[in-house]
Amino acid sequence: MRAVLRTFGELSITLGSIMLLFCAYLLWGTGAYTERHQVLLQQQLAQEATSPVRGDGKLDSIELGRALAMIRIPKLGVDYKYAIVEGVDAEHLRQGPGHYPGTALPGEIGNFVVSGHRTTYSAPFNRIGELRPGDEVIIDARQARYTYRVTSSKIVYPTQLDVIEPVPEQPGKRARHALLTLSTCHPEYSARQRLIVYGVLDRTHERRT
């Protein structure tokens, strides 16, 4: 009897330790993966900036998994920058903030939608809840720097699909402005709701090539 109890106790302690280690992995271990891929994605962007892609220069057919642009949010620190990857499947979001395929591209009329992790995988969107109306979100795309200004933020349920519409929350309406939508999970460490931050294009600074 005593041996059984002792073994049970030991197994429980072991299981508990493994769970703790798993939490540590989620919070810090996953970040290593993101950082590795961010280096590659940012290299990809830098290379394309010096040797522009041939063609008509349009961005309308971006392969999933390719680097799309850099996102900078001055409010979250001068060093705050991530390469945005095309795609929002788990494999893409592990590498950094992901752009919803099919939504507008940076600077385009419509809704440029980007999702990012809040607590795992480097947690790029951990602090987007701190953004207030007027704060800048800078998107450095290949051809230009687009500066968006935050207009509002809200918390929705994950079933509310209309936040990614060309005009958010007004399905079917034709877009007339270049809008930005950031999304992440809410509350932190949860999958229950989503935190949404809206913005509108404020100015465009063309790059000389």
């Binding site: 030991e10 280690l21 979001l93 699909l161 999970c185 999958a191």
Partner: protein
């Protein structure tokens, strides 16, 4: 369980301790690099997109 493993380890206390550390290291690495990456998508944590 741990008593049983300890008794099965060869050598004196020093060798047993060393072997324990190596075993722990191997186990941790296996968890960290193989089991956890596999288990991570199964945990409903940090879902960031909207969808039906």
């Amino acid at each position: 369980m741990y008593g049983f493993i300890w008794r099965r380890l060869p050598g004196g206390v020093a060798l047993k301790l060393g072997a324990t550390l190596v075993l722990l290291g191997v186990l941790t690495a296996l968890l960290w690099y193989v089991v956890f990456p596999w288990a991570e998508p199964l945990v409903p944590l940090d879902r960031v997109t909207v969808g039906p």
